[in-house]
């Protein structure tokens, strides 16, 4: 039961705004700053620079929205399918070391249902320096998830494959006694570093990417992801 005893009261922020702020705050504790990138991307930044060439089976791992109008140079444009292109942009525009997160909207050509939407939010992370390893990835994510989900939270790594990291891992997080898949991660592939003008012989590190929506739904007890973008006031006012 909602009880309101003031004649006026402030409006509320959307839970996604709150979640993103929370993530920014927790990662800032470990020295991560925020980077951003455009939602309309080039095929190069979204795929090729990330070691996902056209005509390669790995391309099937992402269902892409393509735009009708080509870029000025005749290349294809798309809506970014992940926040990973921001890594590429950041590395090309700055010198190493890098310690950034990049929350942002991404798009996937998927049928929508209670747990799938065509637009959703991801958060990307990148830490490249002289000797950043998977042990650091574990340390960072353990700190972050304990802050977000409580001291009982735990994480585990499982082997997987993404063309832009090697080794690649799936990260599960233990929340309320259950293991849940939350993000993919791994050591940035030397080819990707080279594509960005970073020498893999002197620099290395990890990248991670995960959806924020599922985490939000867990924390806020939201049953259907489509509520987040419906604009229905009953959603945000009831949170």
């Amino acid at each position: 039961m909602k009880v309101i005893t003031t004649l006026t009261r402030p409006g509320v922020a959307h839970p996604m705004t709150v979640c993103i702020d929370r993530l920014i705050g927790v990662f800032a504790e470990l020295g991560f700053s925020v980077a951003q990138g455009p939602e309309i991307e080039t095929e190069y930044y979204n795929f090729d620079a990330l070691n996902i060439p056209a005509d390669h089976p790995a391309r099937d791992m992402w269902d892409t929205f393509w735009l009708k109008e080509l870029a000025e140079d005749g290349s294809r444009r798309l809506l970014r399918t992940h926040t990973s292109p921001v890594q590429i942009r950041h590395m090309k525009e700055h010198d190493a070391p890098y310690k950034i997160i990049a929350p942002g909207k991404v798009y996937r050509h998927e049928a929508t249902d209670a747990t799938h939407e065509a637009q959703f939010y991801q958060i990307e992370g990148l830490w490249i320096a002289r000797d950043v390893s998977l042990a650091d990835l574990r340390g960072v994510l353990l700190h972050v998830f304990k802050k977000l989900l409580g001291e009982d939270a735990d994480i585990r790594f499982r082997p997987t494959y993404f063309p832009f990291v090697e080794p690649g891992v799936e990260i599960d997080v233990k929340f309320r006694g259950k293991w849940l898949e939350v993000m993919g991660a791994g050591m940035v592939h030397p080819k990707v570093l080279e594509n960005c003008g970073v020498d893999p012989k002197t620099h290395q590190g990890f990248a991670f990417g995960g959806g924020i929506d599922r985490l939000l739904m867990l924390l806020y007890n939201v049953p259907d992801v489509r509520m987040l973008y419906s604009g229905d006031p009953r959603f945000v006012e009831n949170c």
């Binding site: 920014i24 499982r158 806020y220 604009g231």
Partner: protein, 625 residues
Amino acid sequence: MLYSKKILQTYIAEPLPKDEELVERISLYAFEVEGVEERGGDSVFDISVLPNRAHDCLSHRGMAREIATVLNVALTDAAQPYAALEASTDDALLSVTVDSPAACPRYSAVRIQGVKVGPSPAWLVESLAAIGQRSINNVVDATNYILNTLGQPLHAFDVSKMAGSHIHVRFANEGEKITLLSGDEVTLTSDALCIADGTSNALLGIAGIKGGTAAQVDVETTDIILESANFASSGIRKIARPYNLLTDAAKRFEQGLTPELAHEGLAACAKLILELAGGNVCAGVDVYPEPQSQKHITVSAEACNKVLGTQLSVEELESIVRRRGWKYEVTGNTLTIAVPKERLDLESEIDIIDDVGQLYGFGNIEARPQTVVGGEVAYPAANTIRAALMSLGFSEVYTYAFRNEGNVEVANPIASDKAFLRSTLVTGVTESLEKGLVYADEVCRTSAAYFEIDTVFLPEGERLALAFGARDTTKKQTLARGLMQQAQDALANLGVAVQGDTQVVEVLLDASWSETISTAPHFDTDEQRVFAPFSPYPSIIRDIALFAPSAGIEEEIAARIVSAAPELVRSVRLFDVFTKPDEARTSYAFRLVLQAFDRTLTEADAAAAMEPITLALTQAGYEIR
């Protein structure tokens, strides 16, 4: 891919653990297991094999080898490589011409005469059924069985339906047609590599993808050519996808397969066909002009430790490499590994390190403690705008980027009315306002006031925009207009100039608003908000107004209402309070929203719900108006 535990077991020397344990070991050290199903005494595992391991693990033998490595158990003889089939070459009986070795690195085949095509034995029918495959006849089933166990696609042609016994691997002529085994007729381009009858030039199949009806094996067949070949991945992918022919064979070739597997597949399949259908091998051919070379990769323990964050010694590295069954040489602190030919994914040192890490167990890598830094945090600058509007009572919405109009068009929309990226936030906010008015009482607001800050897509590019609006239930919209004026003033103070007298106003924000700054407020307080589900059924509003002797006791009165109120009361909101100057009493007005989750409420329900409330308030000494 589906894997039968029974078939996997034939390759592994020790009994496999129980399903649950096996799933866990595979998931933590090798692949993601999507599910396990019990099927007539067998367990069928659905294991996700991603593109980097499609080369060697899209087969029961390949997966069994990986599982044996993970469990650290030995393999059976069945898992050992097959020796090449002994078959004499005889051009008169069987010959092959390959136009493009680049497109077809290897073409091996045997001719088997005197086969009797018929139904397959029960064990084969069951094995195929377990992994979701239909039985067709003994010859076709044999090729299917070898595809699923060794990972080598094979195809059988009926020689009596051919003009001779010469196979010509050539590209199709532009526009050339073929009727596939499925019955579909396909028109090909000159990109499509085909298997043709070298004598009549007729097409017998699309290479590595699907066979045609021309030389189809049926119950009359007695004389076959069994093909075991290798086709370049890009050529396969170019044809299989656009033609929607991603067959089991195509899936393997398009992800890359070692040509070294072809002779094993041929030997194993020929043997099986002879067993099931009789006959004898009268000729063989192997066109393999450039055999795959042996690759070597050097790895050091130091390099492994640097990436994984471990402290492996050279000896520990060696033991992991030995578990994988790789041949290697040690030079000081480095190992030079002879890369198994089926492992097309192992290209450089980092790939070896990944395999080492997997077997070591990524779960065994300890966390390196991180340093917590203090200092200011930079939050989104737009939060300043959010905070200003929220303090006036505007709440934030997020709406869809896909609309049925806009400047930027999507080539492959998910729906015809979602073919554009929005060029304005006004549509979305307007829809929220409309809903906000309908549900105002349910969300405990006097008026609807909403805003959105997000990307809009204009001809010149993406821009961050702000749209906000207010509406109230009165005709004159006085409350709403007041809110809009306050909002415009607040925004002007922040340097955001807003024009417009409409219900929803939009403004494009400067690039600086997209940045993060240390002076921006943030909304992640400690309080954990939880979503309260709302009912789809209509609500009933009941207002209750009363006089109380004192001012400032709204909370106390509300508490009494709450403790007397039944479940049906979803909210209690103070909407009016005044003390007349010359009176010693204060008037309080509360709005109650009654709603059920399972039905529409009736007047009787409302009356029944209000009774205990009015009773409690009267007993507390308040005068109900």
